[in-house]
Symmetry: C2
Subunit: 758 residues, 2 copies
């Protein structure tokens, strides 16, 4: 299919879910109401670390309207976890953070549930707690679990010879970069409804990202066969990695199993901050060496990451930190040691980019430091080192479509890099940062794929069953476009199912920016299989070979014989309404051509396709207040192919907004393990009006494996924002920010230090 | 698979839906409540025939809480119908029966909707009406539609040479048999909820039998693409043919499209009788000739059937009357002329057996009359003429498994036919009647098939997606058994979806006793496809050829090599968790090996398999009161293979109960077209306590095309009941009942006439 033949790929179509959202018709989990529904509430630990001596639920149980109170005793007490099995549904022997789940109540209304929770008496023996991961690793530190030195997960790897590389370097720099825990701050708090029915099936309406993986996790936690758990995804009000794995569905399932009534539980915003899960906080020590010409010859990395009290997706986040950003450059000599450390804080997990933003902040800041020392333009230094199409990186990643160079060049051109760096305006500066990311990976067992099922209706419209779901990013619209393109119909001709583990084929769900690439390929495969079947039938109807046929606008016609056409309506009927007839319906499966990385060395081609980006920020720093004003922002993304420019731009605007928050304002702050800013009045996210002008640039490298060439875009849009801004701040006022967020206070302190030095 | 190897086929398992029904957890359509839901109510014609001069909805619209009032003007005014397109959603120019839908209201609650309906003013010009089909055919009769002589549908056919046949006969008899309209009397009145969402999809929750055909019909009536209409089947509280095609979903859809809110409408029991649809009333003139040895040499049939005001499924019912019962015997010379005639009564439609019970009543009564004249035992006369395996009947039906002879023999033996006929007890008698039926047919276009989709979960449980649905007959349980048998797992390992046109593959739905045969074959095909895939993967895992493998209890093992086994859990994981992996999921499609009958001659092999039955009733007639007491009842059924004896017995008990009601008590009575007994206090159905002992006998002929040899059973259980009882009454007291129901009054009148004759 030549590019000019595209009818729908590349069209800026509004989200197919836009109308239901705008009309308020969209059903979020809190909108679900069922006859006889109960409400759940969780009792949380008020202390950071302590032994549970006694739980007395007797008073709570006596309250009229309370249907059930559960504690650890009511659960299977099987430790579970996405990667490290260190969680119980409800704390049994110990509590490990302020907010740890101890008991839960189901009652006829929310007030009664809250009252009952308040009536549960728990006696604790308080234990010494530890909140800083470095302190937690020190000998004699209190142990959160039984893990030695509180190390939950560890990665060590080496490529080439770092010692030799450093020896050959003209410039060597060592720096530490720190990033705090931040919250995904999705608009819709975590909530769910669960019902255990008389068929013995536990149905959970859950606006999470990865339905089948959540089902596996629940299956282990509840000690119930996965096939007897059904997860249905209502409309999702944002997720950003935070809704992969959290506690509420497990707690709620316990209540549902006990009461055999539908039970609903929705977090308050407070609970989101107290026990929802945030981005892994990190301290990264980087030692890097370059030649005078800018060639990077060595990178040594030490990461200490704050796991919080339980592991969740943090180990995968650590893995991302340890490996991902290295691959965007032709680095040869690498050494990384990364530790994920238990502390008595809330568990941390994935958040847009997994660990990529943390390490990209460190690496891309470091490159600017090195460039300055080498007297090089930061753009030139990056162009010197970029990975290109055909490269196999030091970690074994195969770059089949590498558009980073073009991203850098087009972003620089767009912002006027050379011109502006030439004639400086005081307190203004430009900063660039680059990024590599993935489009899925073999993280779910050893499958990096998806599947879909599609059927043709009698009226020529198609039903597409897919479980990848939509978390607000527009997956359904992209799927509709891909299917519509293959079948040469309109997007409105594709009806897309909700994601429902009982009905939709197996899939891994939204994470790792995989949906368009992996899910899109499954949809494409299903649509192509349906198209083949349509052509088979049409060939029979029109007495032509399949090669002679052309699919166009809901009809099949014989290319060289005008008038010999059959509509999809006629084809559907012809296929079905005859002896040996059948409805046209086909499945599609896709598994990416990547590899399971080596469990120890972590070497291997991680993902089916790698998106790249170069962001450039132009900032002005108010040297009186320390406030950073972003004047312009250019985000150039190699996303393989733009399926939907409107949706892609939306991703860029959203990702940059979250990145700016991470860069400048967001931080979950704690006192003795207790969060001190658990609300949107104290925890500052970017609002639409505070956004700078953002110019998205799309570099279409047409990935050979992507659906129509597309790669992932979701996470990449956030990843390079903090270092781009940090580098711009440095360029503007000479202050090197190495700790996020880059608040006015820190900048003023930096300006003060500068003054003292000069 | 040899018979002894069956693990689940043939097991008397309780319905998998039994628990949710017993616990009250089952959601019927009236249980569905949605936020902002409105309630619909229909305004019906109070007169049998009239011109609509004016409809004034202004007062109704002004009532607070009324959201919408619709009349014909608000509908597409496209005539539609299952077979004859003679219906509009709402009457436009004329009303044609007492109950005809004229307008409808959606309001915030039921009371307001009822109040609003009462405020709609309609001016009619009353027209002469006609209520009897024979009168309606007469010249000068009022025309209900524009059809000449009010004939809506007509069948004429001839096989062999009836004139010659009659000429060769030793005995010729001519009789008329009549049967009234009766109501299916399902426990759950017709109801639905409809919602037109911002995606442009109209979802209708509809407890009807045939979701995809209803969708087609709504598509035509509403002038909307079928693929934009979604039908979801909630729990169904009985249907019996009556819930194939009725007006409420179309009326409700209009309200839903107008209001864009969920709207619910549920018939009152009154409305069920006024405008729900009943069994086609019939007058059948039969002329038959036999040889002295009992060989039937000719049958001439004239049917006049009462269509009511609109056609619905009555034409198909007429077709069944005209053809079906002939095929159970080796009749050669047949002539049939059948008329379906419009009258100003409520439309009639299908009801358990379509037209088969009407004609079977005539034919099987006639055979007894002929047997008596020939001095033959009625059993002998039937055995003389029965169709057998290998026969092709006069109408072209291919009998591949013909167990009628065995049914007759086993039923006679069971009841003690010879012994009891030998030593008569006064006022007691035995009556036999036989039956042939179908297991589906190519009625939906030219497809007599079904399809299903099945997937293996990671825990070894399976999800089965099928749209055939369950109308209370236990289809889901039978499907689970078939799938479980193929896969050698338990019934509880098969999760069956609800029927949902958007999610489940295309199917034709419940009618013509097709579900077990056609749907079961689709399920079997899907399960076999999944099994093949499991074997493929297992062969790879176990390094064995597929032929060496044995599927047993959720594992695959190598037959001759103990210990080499893989569980379904391991197989699912092996298939998925590898490069190029895939989830195991397959579709299954089945289309029966029958033919589209010739549109004029109606010759052709109608169905994929033919079930047979012989029923024998033993009655005692109270000659003082005319009351018939059924002492014993034997129902021998050739159903091919018993999938589930408990479910099969349930079908027999239910069908015989309905048959006894049809035989003895049930009749919808009218005065000037208005029903006079629209309630269960006046319209008498059988209750459990009034049932005689019924002995089911199952003759397993193992049909070559049936799933594990099974054929249909649903309708057959009702079909022969009235003539078996009529023949028993005659045998008991010498009164030949030729008009249903055989009430005490009619029997007393018969006894009176007998006395006068003697």
């Amino acid at each position: 299919m030549s590019e000019s033949e595209f009818s729908i790929i590349g069209q800026p179509l509004p989200s197919i879910d836009a109308r239901v959202k705008v009309t308020g018709e969209a059903k979020y989990v809190e909108d679900l109401k069922m006859p006889g529904m109960l409400y759940g509430k969780t009792l949380r630990s008020p202390i950071a670390h302590g032994r549970i001596l006694r739980v007395d639920t007797s008073k709570a149980k006596r309250i009229v309207g309370v249907k059930c109170v559960v504690t650890a005793k009511d659960s299977p007490r099987i430790k579970y976890g996405r990667i490290v099995a260190d969680e119980l549904i409800l704390a049994e022997d110990k509590v490990r953070f302020v907010g740890d789940e101890v008991a839960a109540v189901a009652a006829v209304d929310k007030d009664t549930a809250e009252e009952a929770v308040a009536m549960i008496r728990v006696e604790y023996e308080e234990l010494p707690a530890v909140f800083d991961p470095e302190e937690a690793m020190a000998p004699g530190a209190p142990l959160v679990h039984e893990a030695a030195n509180n190390i939950a997960f560890k990665i060590q790897l080496s490529r080439g010879d770092v010692q030799k590389g450093l020896g050959s370097a003209d410039i060597v720099v060592q720096e530490r970069f720190e990033a705090p825990m931040v919250h995904p701050a999705y608009l819709e708090p975590v909530g769910c409804v669960a019902f255990y029915d008389a068929y013995g099936v536990l149905t959970v309406w859950l606006p999470f990202q990865k339905l089948f993986p959540v089902r596996s996790l629940l299956s282990r936690a509840l000690n119930m066969p996965a096939g007897k758990i059904r997860i249905i995804q209502p409309m999702v009000g944002g997720a950003f990695g935070g809704k992969i794995d959290q506690k509420p569905p497990a707690v709620l399932s316990l209540l549902a199993l006990k009461t055999q009534k539908p039970v609903q539980m929705v977090n308050t915003r407070d609970e989101e901050f107290i026990a929802g899960r945030g981005r892994v906080a990190s301290k990264i020590d980087l030692t890097m060496g370059i030649k005078k010409d800018g060639t990077v010859v060595a990178k040594r990395t030490r990461v200490i990451a704050d796991n919080g009290a339980y592991s969740s997706n943090a180990p995968a986040t650590l893995n991302t930190m340890a490996i991902r950003p290295d691959n965007m450059y032709r680095f040869q000599n690498l050494e990384t040691e990364a530790f994920l450390v238990y502390t008595n804080k809330l568990p941390s997990t994935a958040f847009r980019g997994f660990g990529n933003p943390q390490m990209t902040f460190a690496l891309e800041s470091m490159l600017d430091i090195l460039a300055e020392k080498a007297g090089m333009d930061p753009v030139e230094l990056r162009l010197k080192n970029v990975s290109k199409t055909g490269d196999v990186t030091a970690h074994g990643w195969k770059i089949r479509s590498g558009g980073l160079q073009e991203c850098i060049e087009r972003a620089s051109r767009e912002i006027g890099w050379k011109e502006k760096r030439g004639k400086r305006i005081p307190h203004r500066g430009l900063g660039i940062a680059c990024m590599i990311h993935v489009s899925g990976g073999r993280t779910a067992g050893n499958f990096d794929g998806s599947s879909a099922f599609m059927k043709l209706n009698e009226d020529g419209n198609f039903d597409l069953l897919i479980g990848e779901g939509d978390i607000g990013q527009g997956a359904r619209t992209v799927f509709a476009q891909i299917a519509a393109e293959v079948l040469h119909v309109g997007v409105h001709n594709i009806n897309i199912s909700v994601a429902d583990t009982a009905m939709t084929p197996f899939c891994d769900g939204a994470s790792a920016s995989r949906i368009t690439f992996v899910g899109g390929n499954a949809v494409k495969a299903a649509a192509e299989a349906v198209r083949e079947k349509i052509l088979d039938v049409a060939a029979e109807m029109l007495e032509a070979s399949k090669e002679e046929l052309l699919v166009k606008k809901g009809t099949v016609s014989v290319k060289k014989s005008e008038g010999r056409t059959a509509s999809f309506v006629e084809i559907a009927s012809f296929a079905l309404n005859r002896k040996g007839g059948y409805p046209i319906m086909e499945k599609g499966t896709f598994d990416a051509d990547d590899e399971k990385v080596h469990p120890q060395t972590r070497y291997g081609n991680y993902s089916g396709a790698y998106p790249f980006a170069a962001h450039i920020a132009e900032v002005e720093v108010d040297v009186e207040t320390g406030k950073v004003n972003i004047l312009n922002y250019v985000a150039a993304h190699d996303l393989g192919r733009v399926i939907n420019p409107m949706a892609a731009e939306g991703q860029v605007f959203g990702g940059v907004a979250q990145g700016i928050g991470y860069a400048l304002t967001e931080e979950m702050t704690f006192r003795e393990g207790k969060i001190t800013n658990p609300s949107f009045s104290d925890y500052k996210v970017m609002s639409a009006e505070s956004m700078p002008p953002v110019k998205p640039i799309f570099v279409e490298t047409i990935d050979p494996a992507g659906p129509f060439g597309a790669k992932g875009l979701g996470e990449p849009t956030l990843v390079p924002v903090p270092p781009a801004i940090a580098n711009a701040i440095y360029d503007a006022v000479g202050v090197r920010m190495k700790t996020l967020p880059m608040t006015p206070e820190k900048i003023l302190r930096g300006l003060e230090e500068l003054k003292q030095k000069s």
